[in-house]
């Protein structure tokens, strides 16, 4: 048993943290996160050069990481800085390409940005009710349908798109030019897109892809949980500082016992969130991966909402303002519950294990 990071991962974390502190201080971050293209292409390239995309990819596929703890360490640092760069889409793409044994050199180098179209309006969190379809053509396939909430899609060069082929989910590759991309910024910063496929040409990456897609979602959930832990730590530090400095009625507000006990409750939930994320990271690539990541995401959906709402409430008005960093952490913590399965959806997956 060892809860220390390996030397390699500590270095990865330190490097990324230093870079983000330098380039993504909160004011810079918000300018980038809320103006098209909702990330910074130059910085994305720099991050790839620092090895951050490669850290998500196993050595067997040309990267230098890709385990649950690599993913967790990287996303925790991203979360602490609220970094809007499209790492989530990159991770999802990498896992699908890994399942297909596809070359990931351009993903690792950052030369090409990938995004994954999974969700649909009527099937936001599960792949059991996808409506997009693929049709065979002479030399390939054509896709029809609409993919929603394609993270990083507003700035992607290439899409991996899930559509039904002979009734089963399959994954296709399509150039950005081959589909209609409606990009937008997200309320918590960063960008996404709706992707419209109207008999759009594509190549097959993977058929009968249910297991591969579940694997990608599992890794994505772990990443979001780790990101939440980083963001919760940062929000909590801001709150703690405020409790020690802000005065009301002649004393620091941290001296009020009602606030103290509520703050302790946040601490407990953050520690529980950290623990369940460790459990999910350790389980990734094992037989319990999906269940543990569902457990992690449902717990974190609860914890992150509590931390976000209580951070605002205990602060008072100041945390309701754009210019105060805690407000941005609160937004991210709330909105990541909407990604890849919310707290109820993931709880339901845990429940399903009782009757499976």
């Amino acid at each position: 048993m060892n809860f220390d990071l390996t030397e390699d991962r500590r270095m990865l974390s330190d490097t990324l943290t230093r870079y983000l502190a330098d380039r993504y201080a909160i004011g810079d971050r918000s300018r980038t996160a809320y103006a098209a293209p909702f990330h910074d292409p130059d910085r994305w390239t720099e991050l790839a050069e620092l090895g951050m995309a490669g850290a998500l990819v196993p050595e067997t596929a040309g990267g230098f990481g890709g385990t649950g703890f690599d993913i967790a360490v990287l996303f925790e640092a991203l979360g602490r800085a609220l970094c809007p760069e499209p790492f989530l889409g990159t991770l999802l793409a990498s896992r699908l390409m890994l399942a297909a044994d596809a070359d990931q050199a351009q993903l690792i180098s950052g030369a090409r940005r990938f995004a994954v179209g999974l969700a649909e309006i009527d099937a936001p969190y599960d792949i059991g009710h996808i409506a997009s379809t693929a049709r065979r053509t002479g030399d390939g396939y054509c896709l029809t349908g609409r993919k929603t909430a394609v993270y990083g899609g507003q700035a992607a060069d290439e899409f991996l798109l899930v559509a039904l082929l002979d009734g089963a989910p399959a994954v296709f590759r399509a150039d950005a030019a081959a589909v209609t991309v409606v990009g937008y910024g997200m309320i918590d910063g960063g960008g996404a897109a709706e992707v419209l496929m109207e008999d759009s040409p594509a190549t097959l990456l993977l058929d009968n892809a249910t297991a591969a897609i579940t694997g990608a979602v599992t890794a994505g959930r772990l990443a979001l949980c780790a990101e939440a832990v980083g963001a919760m730590d940062a929000a909590y530090a801001i709150l703690l500082d405020y409790l020690k400095t802000r005065k009301q009625f002649g004393v620091v507000i941290g001296s009020f016992q009602a606030l103290q006990h509520r703050t302790v409750d946040l601490l407990m939930e953050i520690e529980q969130a950290r623990s369940i994320t460790i459990a999910a990271a350790a389980a990734l690539d094992g037989p319990d991966a999906a269940l543990k990541s569902a457990m992690a995401k449902t717990l974190i959906g609860r914890a992150a909402r509590l931390v976000a709402e209580e951070t605002i409430q205990i602060h008072g008005g100041i945390a309701m303002t754009w210019d105060y960093a805690a407000s941005h952490y609160a937004k991210r913590l709330i909105m990541l519950d909407h990604q890849l399965g919310d707290t109820d959806h993931c709880l339901d997956e845990v429940m399903q294990s009782y009757t499976a």
Binding site: A123, V182, G185, M186, I187, R305, M320, T321, W322, S327
Partner: protein, 395 residues
């Protein structure tokens, strides 16, 4: 026990409904339903509409141009307006300064100020909170130093809601330094265009411009603009903080939000069926609906007491807390119902025919974040719990 309204009250309810059905323009209700920030013109149109009908100064006695409503009638009016998707009345003139002038103003002030509120000519802003004095209002530092027939105002106010639209402002200022925090405070009026006053926007969490900072730099205000006695402003502040509010729980707004939530949950789909058939989501709706159902009765009990005893009891604090919790939970569920479609930052989607969710849902997440304010402003829920500790627990 009898939970039904009297015949008279039911007739009044019908009158309000008919009035709203006939007079409230569709472009106003559309804007309210869409959940976006309303422009000044819409508030103005609504105020003038009510002003003409004699319903703007809802709490004012008839002699000052109010409708002379009972607490129950005011409650009915509030609920019906919410149910009809009318805008809120911007409270600062009609519901705050008006009653203050009626209670504390002199005859000249009554004659000058009250009609201009009812006509919509004046839009008042509130200058209460300061950066260092939020819930702890008594520690305010904006000062008004006497200089002949004028006060010289220096300092800063904040959280001035819709102050960007106002032409006048009422302020709590410190006219005497030293002494107890509550002493030496005065209640003073000013025109926003007085030299030295600057209104700066505060951008809120969801990106909107709803509140402002107001800076006072050697602002000269006539001493005539003092309301009540000099140094006795705390009395007015307390009057305003405890001023009767018949619908502090926002019952109508929450009823409307619940209806919209159910409609949304019928349209959104999860795992091949409507979201409202998802047991975990339906349970969330059922829980908050039950709370709201109870809160309606708690509200009516408060009205009954207010009507019988002439003043509401300390349950107003209960209603403030529960009202915000219920409202915030409803906003949470509406956001949650949209799933990933809640993500877009309003305005960040370019020209497109694409719907990102059911009609009017694109502001749901922003509304959720914005409404976190309700448990903070007007005496935070923590302050309300402190009040209840004293008044109801006797601790």
């Amino acid at each position: 026990m009898d939970l039904t309204f009297t015949d008279h009250e039911r007739a009044f309810q019908t009158e309000v409904r008919d009035f709203l059905a006939t007079n409230l323009p569709a472009h106003i209700t559309a804007a309210v339903r869409a959940g976006v920030e309303l422009p000044r013109e819409i508030y103005q149109e609504w105020h003038e509409l009510l002003g003409r009908k004699g319903w703007l100064g809802a709490t004012w006695p008839r002699e000052y141009g109010g409708p002379g409503w009972t607490p129950v009638e005011r409650y009915i009016f509030d609920v019906e307006c919410s149910r009809a998707n009318a805008p809120r009345v911007v409270a600062f003139g009609p519901h705050m300064l008006g009653p203050v002038i009626i209670e504390f103003g002199n005859d000249r002030q009554k004659a000058e100020i009250l009609p201009r509120i009812l006509s919509g000519e004046d839009w008042w802003a509130q200058g209460y909170s300061e950066p260092g004095a939020g819930s702890d209002l008594a520690s305010l530092r904006t000062r008004a130093d006497r200089d002949g027939d004028h006060y010289i105002l220096n300092g800063q106010k904040t959280w001035t809601t819709l102050g960007q639209h106002a032409n006048r402002i009422f302020c709590l200022v410190r006219t005497t330094q030293g002494g107890k925090p509550q002493e030496g405070i005065s209640f003073v009026l000013a025109d926003i265009d007085t030299p030295g006053i600057e209104v700066r926007p505060i951008r809120l969490i969801e990106g909107g411009h709803e509140v402002n900072e107001v800076f006072f730099d050697n602002v000269r205000v006539p001493v005539d603009n003092l309301v009540g006695e000099e140094n006795k402003g705390w009395t007015i502040a307390k009057f305003l903080l405890t001023h009767e509010r018949t619908n502090i729980a926002g019952v109508g707004i929450s009823m409307q939000a619940l209806d919209e939530l159910k409609a949304l949950a019928r349209r959104m789909r999860r795992k091949g069926r409507p979201l409202i058939e998802d047991p975990l989501f339906a349970a969330r709706i059922a829980r908050v609906e039950t709370d709201l159902e109870a809160m309606k009765i708690t509200n009516l009990r408060m009205l009954f007491r207010a009507q019988k005893q002439g003043h509401p009891g300390p349950e107003t604090s209960i209603l403030k807390i529960k009202g915000t919790l219920v409202n915030q939970e409803l906003r949470d569920l509406a956001r949650r119902a949209l799933g990933p479609l809640a993500a877009p930052f309003p305005g960040s989607v370019g020209e497109t025919n694409l719907m990102f969710g059911p009609e009017n849902s694109e502001t749901n997440a922003a509304t959720y974040f914005n409404n976190r304010k309700t448990s903070i402003f007007g005496g935070s829920n923590e302050i309300q719990r402190n009040i209840l500790t004293k008044t109801m627990l006797g601790l």
